[in-house]
């Protein structure tokens, strides 16, 4: 074989080898399989009641809110009606149908519902039951050991007994009352409260009632914004005006008041009776002691522990968000509690 022919053969083989990836590329170009805009602008993110609202609209259009309940949905799914006349029997076999609770009759214990439940009146769940999703048109009461796998929404009050697991979204138009030992992911209601006891609501005194405090190591970042190198401890019963960015740990002393937001590169500790009229954010853990009062939001990249304190205001809802959130008995949050890796309530 002459060198020229050998060269051409090697060249052709190389080009052919290089062309292999272009075959699927050309096919995709000529007959596109995946050429629509990325479905990125989601409607459900940020609106925790999205699925509940969609389900409610569907139930309405399917006639599930009328005087007689149709036996099946338009997609062929069967509907089981639970009421005083024909209650759902206790069974170990999971229910694969949509359940409509027509009256206040409690569900039996140990029930496992693989589809959505629609409660037209107050929902009384049985102990140790699991539900895929629950929509309550009035109050919803989950008994001990219950699990909700996707979402739950109550147009009235949502209460969860000890041992309840609220996976996914739990929302209420009125309030969410959690007992201790409840696990949750995302909660949203005008008020979320843990335990039956009250919450110590620290009165917010006028600024003149506090001794002014200016951090000695603070550098003005902009008008009303201070940056502090290292750690910062705000002394008890003093007040700070302005937002503070701390490149270390922050302790807000007992009864201190901050009129602005606080950012910590490390952990943050809000002591008893402290008041923060602003947001808290920290890369480390945030601990909020009993009797503290915050307007929020409270954001941590690690974890948040909320004692018997108040976060948010009744007419100005806020958010507590961290990978891990612990709400202790007496904690009150006006708004949302978001825990990506799981939250829990404790004594």
């Amino acid at each position: 074989m002459s060198p020229d022919i050998a060269f051409l053969l090697v060249l052709a083989a190389t080009l052919a080898w290089m062309a292999i990836p272009f075959v699927p590329a050309l096919l995709e170009l000529l007959r596109p399989q995946d050429a629509s805009p990325l479905n990125a602008v989601g409607q459900d993110s940020g609106q925790l009641t999205y699925f509940a609202t969609s389900f409610a609209e569907r139930m309405k259009s399917e006639g599930m809110l009328g005087t007689s309940v149709p036996p099946r949905l338009t997609d062929g799914s069967n509907v089981v009606v639970h009421n005083m006349v024909s209650p759902v029997a206790a069974s170990r076999v999971p229910i694969a149908d949509v359940v409509v609770l027509a009256d206040d009759t409690p569900l039996p214990a140990g029930l496992h519902v693989l589809r959505e439940c629609l409660a037209r009146r107050t929902f009384h769940g049985g102990a140790n039951s699991s539900y895929r999703a629950v929509l309550g048109q009035r109050d919803v009461q989950l008994a001990e050991g219950s699990s909700v796998l996707r979402w739950i929404h109550a147009n009235g009050r949502l209460t969860a007994a000890p041992g309840t697991r609220l996976l996914g979204r739990a929302t209420s138009d009125r309030e969410i009352l959690l007992d201790v030992d409840v696990q949750f992911d995302r909660l949203d209601a005008p008020m979320v409260r843990v335990g039956g006891g009250g919450t110590l609501e620290t009165p917010i005194l006028p600024v003149s009632a506090y001794m002014p405090f200016v951090p000695t190591k603070a550098v003005a970042l902009a008008p009303g914004y201070w940056r502090v190198e290292g750690d910062l401890e705000i002394p008890p019963d003093t007040s700070v005006a302005g937002s503070i960015i701390v490149r270390g740990k922050v302790v807000v002393g007992e009864g201190a008041r901050v009129e602005g937001s606080i950012k910590a590169h490390d952990t943050m500790h809000i002591k008893s009776r402290a008041v923060v009229i602003g947001a808290l954010s920290a890369r480390g853990r945030i601990v909020i002691e009993d009797g503290a009062r915050l307007s929020g939001p409270v954001i941590s990249e690690s974890s948040i522990i909320v004692g018997a304190s108040v976060i948010g205001v009744a007419n100005k809802r806020t958010t507590v968000t961290a990978p891990r959130v612990q709400l202790r008995s007496g904690a009150t949050v006006y708004g949302a509690v978001m825990s990506a890796d799981g939250g829990e309530t404790l004594k």
Binding site: P24, L38, V41, L221, I245, A279, S295, P297, T318, A336
Partner: protein
């Protein structure tokens, strides 16, 4: 002499390219195996601050209605939101459209109309911002269509007192128009899903992109406002904020649709403009960044310098190729022969394909694997970008300072409405 220079030049090029290659791979591996950092994405309830949204426009009659309609449909509290479309001496029907909307929504839309002064987006923004209130300023280009939750998502990071600017993700809308739009779709995915988010994860410097993002008013004022003499006022702003102690945050879940260029001519002009603007910023700030008088963490300094120099990489790549060819045809083996051959092979294979790896990873993370079939065609986009950016980097405009700029626009292609006006009923169709 030439051989020595070529040798030295080659090693410099290889060193620079090796650093950027490692950066690409590091970012990509971070996105594949690292922790996804998005601390603000779950802030859904808050006492939202007063927000002003600016929509700078110059001859945007084809698209501005969609943008205004989308902004009117967002879930941000009406009493906390002001929409300020800015018309800078348009010759089409942009201004009448703005006036029509202002009449229909007098409490929500407040047009800012310019007939004189220095032209250009930065100058228009600077003038409009001096005229309005608000704690947070957000900017959307006129062809952008924000989703209903976007403003809250982009505002949430500002509850962190250290955040000076926020950037959302840009998603191409006209993907299926041509080969170019499909390639740009891939490039955008790589740039946002991997590059920006990795910098967010690693606490480096995510870049504010001048649109689909916002800035804290007080931070903007503290750093001296918008620079009107920069072709890349967004990069300029990013660097100044970071050097003054503010954080720039990227929100990957805050997505917004945009139109990407559909013709190569437009694409080349766009990328040349970016290159010139970026290089201007490099000249302005690289020394200050390295001297680090503001005590930035060292990793932010390194990332900042690499970010500023990113549009010089194609030039370095071309220089590396020229040095290689020169040495080869001059018949001289390079110094440290085998090592050099290995280095050249590395940057021509592994190095050049780092960006492809990044794009492929982005598509995978987006859950759209079929798009990855188009990856081989990225070679075309890569070559066009390399030569265009290198050419732009060699132009005088890349290194000029203190010259006010004019409107630099990308042509709009939309022919039908993408959204419906709020209150007119029906779901908007995305054309």
């Amino acid at each position: 002499m030439i051989i020595t220079l070529a040798n030295i030049g080659l090693w410099i090029c290889i060193a620079v390219l090796a650093v950027y290659t490692l950066r690409h791979y590091f970012f990509t591996l971070n996105r594949l195996f690292g922790t996804h950092r998005q601390p603000y994405v779950d802030v859904v309830q808050a006492d939202w601050p007063l927000l002003t949204v600016f929509v700078p426009a110059h001859n945007e009659g084809r698209v501005i209605r969609d943008s205004l309609d989308a902004l009117l449909s967002v879930d941000y509290p009406v009493d906390k939101l002001r929409i300020v479309p800015i018309d800078d001496r348009s010759q089409d029907d942009t201004r009448p459209i703005m006036e029509e909307y202002a009449e229909l929504y007098p409490d929500r839309i407040f047009p800012f109309l310019r007939d004189d002064g220095i032209p250009g987006k930065a100058a228009a923004l600077a003038e409009a911002m001096s005229d309005v209130e608000g704690e947070i300023y957000m900017v959307f280009d006129a062809d952008y269509i924000p989703g209903p939750r976007l403003l809250k998502q982009l505002t949430a990071p500002f509850f962190d007192a250290e955040v000076g600017a926020v950037m959302g993700r840009v998603v191409p809308l006209n993907v299926n128009k041509s080969l170019l739009t499909r390639l740009l779709d891939l490039e955008r995915a790589g740039g946002y899903q991997v590059d920006q988010q990795a910098r967010m994860n690693l606490r480096l410097i995510p870049q504010y992109g001048g649109t689909v993002g916002g800035v804290r008013r007080i931070a903007l004022e503290q750093i001296g406002g918008w620079r009107i003499d920069s072709l890349a006022e967004d990069t300029d702003l990013t660097v100044r904020l970071v050097m003054n102690g503010w954080d720039v945050v990227y929100q990957n879940r805050s997505e917004c649709y945009e139109e990407v260029p559909e013709t190569w001519d437009m694409r080349i002009r766009q990328i040349k403009r970016w290159a010139k603007g970026h290089n201007q910023t490099l000249v302005r700030y690289v020394a200050a960044m390295i001297s680090n008088r503001r005590s930035l963490p060292w990793w932010q300094v390194v990332d900042g310098v690499l970010l500023l120099g990113v549009f010089l990489v194609p030039l370095v790549l071309l220089m590396g190729w020229i040095c290689t060819i020169t040495l080869f045809y001059a018949g001289y083996p390079p110094q440290w022969g085998r090592l050099t051959v290995l280095a050249i092979s590395s940057f021509n294979t592994v190095g050049n394909f780092a960006a492809f790896f990044q794009v492929a990873t982005a598509s995978r993370l987006d859950g759209s694997r079929e798009r990855n079939r188009m990856l081989p065609f990225l070679l075309l986009g890569f070559l066009v970008s390399t030569f265009s950016v290198a050419r732009a980097s060699l132009s005088r405009a890349s290194w000029l300072r203190g010259r006010p700029v004019e409107w630099q626009k990308t042509e709009r292609y939309r022919t039908t409405r993408a959204t419906k006006r709020p209150g007119t009923g029906g779901q908007g169709n995305v054309s």
